[in-house]
């Protein structure tokens, strides 16, 4: 299911490729004369041949590709709940029991306060969260999940865990734990 339709930030990551090889529509010519001339010979078929490029080593290319694939799949799986990972992240904080203000949500999620407004508006309209004015600072609004919101959060979480299991299917349990740990170190 996933693949094909996904479009990630930048990176790329070859997927199959087999097809490309056979297709052979193009194959690379020895090089027709302009610039680099002789360039590196080879030029094998399939896009995995670009793994030798410098961009393929870049951590931001790899994270973009991994994120693009993962989020694309997750969003698709969440369609049944009419939810996206973006909204889930806000709902998750609202259901955390930590009584976050919108500003805190924005800081933790690395989203602009104006983006939080729109996301909370959406969740509030469908009855998943409530805005409560903080009695200690009436400028601030505490976002809390309703019963329906907590139920929605629980169902979304199950779907997201299944999605993640799919996305990380090539990794062992130990590797998954390592990856999470490493990403956590550089995410904050």
């Amino acid at each position: 299911m996933s693949t094909s339709t996904d479009k990630a930030p930048h990176g790329s990551a070859a997927t199959a490729s087999a097809a490309a090889a056979t297709a052979a529509p193009t194959a690379s010519t020895p090089e027709g004369g302009l610039g680099a001339g002789d360039t590196v010979g080879e030029v094998t078929d399939g896009i995995e041949r670009f793994l030798c490029s410098k961009v393929a080593e870049q951590i931001h290319f790899l994270t973009s590709r991994a994120r693009g694939r993962g989020i694309s799949h997750a969003n698709h799986q969440l369609e049944g709940l009419d939810l996206k990972v973006r909204q889930f992240s806000v709902l998750s904080l609202a259901a955390s029991g930590q009584n976050p203000s919108q500003r805190e949500m924005g800081e933790f999620l690395a989203l602009d306060p104006s983006q939080i407004v729109a996301l909370v508006d959406n969740l509030e309209q469908r009855g998943a969260v409530l805005r409560e004015t903080d009695p200690r600072d009436r400028r601030s609004k505490i976002i809390v999940a309703t019963d329906a919101g907590r139920d929605l959060h629980a169902r979304a979480l199950q779907i997201l865990e299944d999605s993640e299991d799919y996305t990380l299917s090539t990794l062992s349990p130990r590797e998954r734990k390592q990856l999470r740990s490493l990403l956590l170190k550089i995410a904050f």
Copy 2:
């Protein structure tokens, strides 16, 4: 923690959860420990308290945040070359010696063909790459870097490696290698 200027897709990171159920609008749970909590109801200070939320465990949240931070920093560092990581990725393939067609670039970078057009247009206009019609399939265009393009690529690469060194500063050389390896496994 980093935070501040970066704006990432969504994410946040964390583990456990706990409290949610009890959570009262304001204040709430006594809970033990936690240092900071002076104020009225628990809810300790600092956004790291949200690390207990479910979203903080999600791999796509972690990759989003890590990517957002990394790309934000990299793009800022590349400003002097009037280049962005997006353009660099295309330039890198053009300079790889693999003579990629635009379609292949799009497939490898997980970008729509129409996006490749705009990126190649930009690089072509500044003389960094050339479009060469593939003699074996006149529909296809091979993108190759010019001498100036290769020079630009080399300078950008140096900047990006420095940027990555900054982004991954909290990881040991071994951890960096692990991270790259793990991301490669799930990116393709």
